[in-house]
Amino acid sequence: MTVAKYFDEMSYGPALEADTEARDWLARHKSSFGHFIDGAFVASASGKTFDTFEPATGAPLAKLAVGEKADVDKAVVSARKAQAAWAKLPGHVRARHLYALARMIQRHARLIAVVEAIDNGKPIRETRDIDVPLAARHFYHHAGWAQIQDTEFADHVPVGVVGQIIPWNFPFLMLAWKVAPALALGNTVILKPAEFTSLTALLFAELASAAGLPAGVLSIVTGEGETGALIVDHSDVDKIAFTGSTEVGRIIRERTAGSGKSLTLELGGKSPFIVFDDADIDGAVEGVVDAIWFNQGQVCCAGSRLLVQESIANLFHERLKRRMQTLRVGQPLDKCIDMGAIVAPVQLDRIEALVKKGISEGAELHQAKIEMPKGGSFYPPTLLSGVQPTSIVATEEIFGPVAVSMTFRTPEEAIQLANHSRYGLSASVWSETIGLALNIAAKLAAGVVWVNATNLFDAAVGFGGKRESGFGREGGREGCYEYLKPKAWIGRKARVLPALPTLKPVAGDFAVPTVDRTAKLFIGGKQARPDGNYSRAVISPKGKVLGEVGEGNRKDIRNAVVAAQAASAWSSATTHNRAQILYYIAENLSGRAEEFADRIGAMTGASATAAKSEMDASIARLFTYGAWADKYEGVVHAPPLRGVALAIPEPLGVAGVICPPEAPLLGFISLIAPLIAMGNRVIAVPSEPYPLAATDFYSILETSDVPAGVVNIVTGSAVELAKTLAAHNDVDAVWAFGTAELSAMVEKLSIGNLKRTFVDYGKATDWMDCTAAEGALFLRRAVDVKNIWIPYGE
């Protein structure tokens, strides 16, 4: 091309970022890397390696070590050894380390950005302008949390040794999201980067070591899924933090069930991108570019489901197609492109197959007729319109540059379509009417909502999903808790189960018997006979029958879930209203305090004083959660933009509660009160040996204005009922307190819809101890934080 030709055509020429330094770095390592363990590169014990390729050309890039058991063991030993010393450092010292890492990233920003672009295939613009600056921001932000940890998280300690498994779509940024909070708060880390994209993690470890990070604090073990599994299964790892597919997330949940490992999962999505007729349409069209043609669409929170109001659908699609025509796909290091290469041929195949499937299911295909690079894994910007909800491309994550679009008629229908998904990661809402936009934002089932924006991220703002998009948050104060554990729960002992009394038959006499009271189940605000029509006896320590309760079965659970789902108005009731009702429950319970105390004594054999204490504590606990109901508030984050991000605690939905065997009244109250205070609806399975306090309780509920379906009570076998609840795909959370086996079972069965679980692994809680048994520790587990980003300005 000559100047004259460019002058006539006014075309863009190639503008390649130099890769000399990046290639030099590879050459210095002879394009071959070991793991980074205990402060140095080491080969695999087995000597096995695998190749990593350059997506834009398909050429081999480097040889990497395969992490096997000996390697993972070595890394864990090193991390364990370092953890005590690392946690013992004053927060300020850890803050200095984190600060040094942030500065180090900035000093080597271009090298990291270029290596990342080569290794992943994403445009240098994104690595240079987004990934690397955001990563540095994460280290700065979390240096701050280390600095103030002693005062801000005084009642928590680090979790310990953390295994982190990250994906290939944002290799360096995900490293930062994982490593920065973990290290800041006193944990040590074994990180496994994705097999396609390990290089920037290795580069980071090398640079971090040079920046003075102590050996063992951060180890990198490379490898494929098997290596990840070794970390997940390792008995001396205290926590697993995973970002990746929902499929693998499920496997990790299942494998860690009952192990006591803390777990955060950041998984897939099929996030809605909703455009109302009063939106800035051109702005929204550009939003689609940022939503689905960012990082080649390989973004877990990509706005991949366009929902466009019917009245503007034609105009919107015309403009979108026109915009697609000016997108440029090219070499990752070209500074004049919008999209680079798909990470690997296997992903390209998947995208192609799904698009083909979408077309066969009736979608209309539009692909920009633009110049595509030859060779390598490239896929053009693609729009599938007229997609029906029945089509596979409307529900499955494509993880490529493919938007699917549908229309809606009303705001109500927009919400219905948007929320009709197994996922719940993010959402984008476009409207210039504040009332409409915020109302929709509040109703979306998503962990992150962007108003008139998309794909905004910041270290101060929690990121994470609802439903099958996973649990836990990364970033902000809410993210810090994922790397901490409560001091009050350290040293909890294994629960000692009371020996169940045996029935000592006694013949009746001729005295006037008490009027028989039949305890039923309590479902949807009504007393209900158990479906199976069997009963079980409740026997006093002296062997006397105190009464009989219904033997609940799976159908009773099913009915209770239907009732609880129908009570959704409770979740949007005002916090004042919920507080009032909790106080009213306490008031009505106190009116029958003596009777309940007698019941506790009769069932458990507790002394009158002890029974009264439990009674008093129960009333106080109801007051506590009445108090919290309108005070457990969100925060306003201040990310670096003109606007705010509102972190709002939202109820989980319907929660199953398996009450502990001990403390028949206080255990029950301690678990249901925080849940309903936060707006959840509950199906409670009372203490298996001592259920009568809970069945007596339903008349309290009936007289306390608790709406039907908010609290449901099903008596029977804790294990059997927990099994149904944990596997029920319309239950959003299960709290289970009891045996270690119960905990393991609940966690294992929760994978169907990846419900939130809260279990005690058979460790006894002192329910009388307010620091261990009430307050924020429980409230945090009763909500998901939704972050609503609201940029503003006129």
């Binding site: 006014m10 863009y12 020429g13 240079r128 800035d280 702005g283 550009e286 009245s311 008139n452 006129e794």
Partner: protein, 348 residues
């Protein structure tokens, strides 16, 4: 009712009102044969429907320099193209005939011939897009430019505040046209926008267009005075409906002149107007663009938001006085590999 629905995109659409009595194509050589905007009946529902989200607009322009760049030969070509779009301007109280003549000489030879030669562009006649002066110097400039084909643009209608009596503003246009101005840069009455008096703005625009006759009209919105992007969008639409051939950001005298954000909004309105009427309206950012790397971003926006045809002087002008000198230095650097200096290029 569909919002801003697509309609037939033919210039002969009955929607297009014959605003001006003047025939199209004022100077054939300067246009690529696009029919001249004939305006449209004032469509208030469209005007009031305009919505612009500031943050979304800012994000688009913020990411643009990372998405588009030109290097080496391509960069030289783009900068040279920018030269052909410059309205080389002097609008100062101390302007004199000799000062204007010097500027005209520069307009006819904006880049040193040896540099053009080295770029392989020696056989092209590279001139600026126009000379832009006050009415007083129109005749001087017309004479100085002779048969170069470079049009003279006159700022008019009580530039820069636009608060002279309306009949005098119309007379001012007529006088400049009589003196040989081929282009008239009018300033709108900002009050009409700030008070929402869209009909007054529309009628004012129609009058100016009629007074200009064959001369092309560039409507200066003075976006720095309008403050909000919504105002900018609405004023853009009304001026196009009123028959503007170009919409232009600023007089250069407001507190804030051309910005990429304002540009994006105005370009999108031009695109929507074409979408509906088929007429291509030109765009002229003015004020504050003094660096070569800045003008490239404007060009990228023109190309990506509007299309290739909007990179030529019939649809794109740049109101600038010091930009040319920076482009000349960049071009010499491209040719020699050494950074250049201002005194190596003739003054304008």
């Amino acid at each position: 009712m569909e919002r801003t629905g697509l309609r037939a995109t033919k210039p002969d659409d009955t929607q297009a009102m014959a605003v001006a009595k003047a025939p199209s194509l004022a100077h054939q050589a300067q246009t690529n044969g696009w029919p001249r905007n004939r305006g449209l009946e004032l469509d208030l529902s469209w005007v009031l429907d305009a919505r612009v989200n500031l943050s979304a607009t800012e994000r688009r322009v913020a990411s643009l320099p990372g998405r588009r760049t030109v290097k080496k030969d391509a960069q030289a070509a783009w900068l040279l193209k920018a030269v052909t779009c410059i309205d080389l301007t002097t609008l100062n109280g101390d302007d004199t005939a000799e000062r204007v003549k010097r500027l005209c000489a520069k307009a006819m030879s904006p880049v040193r011939p040896d540099i053009l030669q080295s770029l392989g562009m020696g056989n092209r006649s590279i001139t600026t897009g126009a000379i832009c002066v006050y009415h007083r110097f129109v005749a001087t400039a017309v004479e100085a430019l002779g048969n170069s084909g470079i049009p003279v643009a006159a700022v008019s209608t009580g530039f820069p505040a636009g608060l002279s009596p309306h009949h005098l503003k119309v007379r001012e246009i007529e006088a400049s046209v009589a003196d040989g101005a081929k282009e008239i840069d009018i300033v709108i009455t900002r009050e009409h926008v700030l008070t929402g008096n869209w009909r007054a703005l529309y009628e004012e625009m129609q009058d100016y267009r009629a007074a200009a006759g064959e001369a092309h009209v560039k409507a200066i919105l003075a976006t720095g005075d309008l403050k909000t992007l919504r105002n900018v969008a609405r004023a853009s639409l009304v001026c196009m409906m009123g028959g503007a051939d170009f919409i232009k950001t600023s007089t250069g005298k407001e507190g804030v002149n051309a910005t990429l954000a304002v540009t994006l909004v105005m370009l999108r309105m031009i695109r929507a107007y074409e979408e509906r009427t088929g007429f291509k309206v030109g765009y002229k950012p003015a004020g504050g663009i003094s660096a070569a790397k800045d003008i490239l971003n404007y060009q990228f926006l023109m190309k990506d938001e509007l299309g290739r045809e909007w990179l030529e002087p019939d649809l794109f002008r740049i109101g600038a006085s010091s930009l040319l000198a920076d482009i000349e230095r960049q071009l010499e650097h491209h040719v020699t590999g050494a950074y250049s200096a201002l005194n190596r290029h003739p003054i304008g």
